[in-house]
């Protein structure tokens, strides 16, 4: 698993909601973390994977990686930036 490259502090699954709730759910999960901590976000293919990475980046967070889980979902690794 590529996630092992990073120490994951928390995980959120947003495959049960649709855009823009995907982004909101990921954003809320990031709010629970401290600066520098790392969140893994499980996303569906299609709209979520095309939009959520950029939206989180625009919130100021750092995107580290996107892993294809080969089951129609992806795991986005994000580092929290700012409080």
């Amino acid at each position: 698993m590529a996630e092992q490259e990073f120490k994951i502090d928390d995980t959120v699954d947003v495959t049960d909601v649709k855009c823009p709730t995907t982004f909101v759910k990921a954003k809320v999960a990031l709010e629970e973390l401290d600066e520098g901590q790392i969140l893994a976000v499980r996303l569906n293919d299609g709209e979520p994977v095309q939009n959520v990475p950029r939206s989180l980046k625009e919130e100021g967070h750092e995107i580290l990686k996107l892993n294809d889980n080969q089951d129609g979902t992806f795991t986005l690794i994000v580092k929290k930036v700012g409080d």
């Binding site: 939009n51 990475p53 996107l66």
Partner: protein, 288 residues
């Protein structure tokens, strides 16, 4: 004194079926009206019309059932709210635009700014026939650029920045043209497939695409009695000054060559696509 319908039509007064009744078209740029303008239009429609306004197919507003004897009073009343009459007939018509990058996440250009500039430059210019400009912000083409005599579509030309890329592949997913493949975390970009939509650049979470904003210009579009999709001559124009020079060249070609009542497409057909294309290329290359 006989009523000068041609002059009224020129000033946006559309003669109705009902004798001595006019539907007044107001000047709108890029589909935007201020709240003050809307309030004044509402007031005039209540006072001088039948209490309603009509939204035209090209982003203008008409106030129907204005009586001939009230034409001057209506003009003065509208002026108080910053509303001017529009135009009809053989001249440059309402410049239409979508909301563009100022508002829309998909937008690649500031469509309103372009529409305003075109309006300042050309609005109501007398020509052999009607002439329509439309400005759309991106490949989604909400404003239907190619149905206009001159259509302008926002575009983004991209260049991959390897040093900023984490190889996540989001751009390849966002691309609708299969122009991007990821191999061993590296982007393989086939520019020949790119339609300048900018989706790779917009979706990238690490700013690994460098973007150049520009315009795709189409000529000779029609969507009335005849239907024709405007054609593109130069694939991508990145400079706004060049864009305006190309618009100048197109409108001059029409003014010089069109027969009265002949739409741009038919002028191009009659004079020759190659002749017209050369004019546009000369304007682009600055060799008049």
């Amino acid at each position: 004194m006989a009523t000068d319908y041609a002059t009224l039509k020129k000033g946006g007064w559309m003669r109705q079926k009902q004798k001595n009744n006019f539907s007044l078209r107001v000047r709108v740029v890029g589909g935007n009206l201020t709240a003050t303008q809307l309030a004044k239009i509402a007031e005039v429609a209540e006072k001088y019309g039948q209490g309603y306004a009509h939204l035209t197919s090209r982003q203008s507003v008409e106030i129907p059932f204005i009586k001939l004897e009230n034409v001057d009073d209506v003009k003065n009343a509208l002026a108080e709210g910053g509303v001017e009459p529009g135009v009809c007939g053989p001249r440059v018509r309402t410049i239409t635009a979508c909301q563009g990058e100022a508002v829309c996440p998909s937008g690649c250009i500031d469509t309103y700014a372009i529409a305003k500039e075109l309006d300042d430059r050309y609005f109501a210019r007398e020509l052999p026939h009607k002439f329509k400009f439309g400005v759309t912000g991106c490949q989604n083409n909400c404003l239907k650029a190619e149905e206009n005599d001159v259509g302008i579509k926002g575009a983004i030309k991209v260049k991959w920045l390897e040093s900023a890329c984490i190889g996540c592949g989001v751009c390849a997913k966002a691309c609708r043209r299969s122009a991007i493949r990821i191999e061993n975390k590296k982007v393989l970009f086939d520019e020949s497939k790119c339609n300048y939509c900018g989706r790779c650049y917009k979706s990238c979470p690490t700013d690994a695409w460098e973007a150049t904003h520009g315009y795709i210009i189409s000529f000779g579009g029609l969507f009335g009695n005849s239907i024709n999709k405007g054609e593109t001559i130069i694939p991508f124009v990145e400079d706004k000054h060049k864009l305006l020079e190309i618009c100048d060249a197109a409108i001059s070609f029409f003014a010089e060559n069109a027969n009265p009542g002949e739409r741009f497409k038919f002028t191009i057909d009659r004079i020759g696509h190659d002749v017209f294309a050369q004019k546009i290329k000369d304007a682009y290359n600055n060799t008049p």
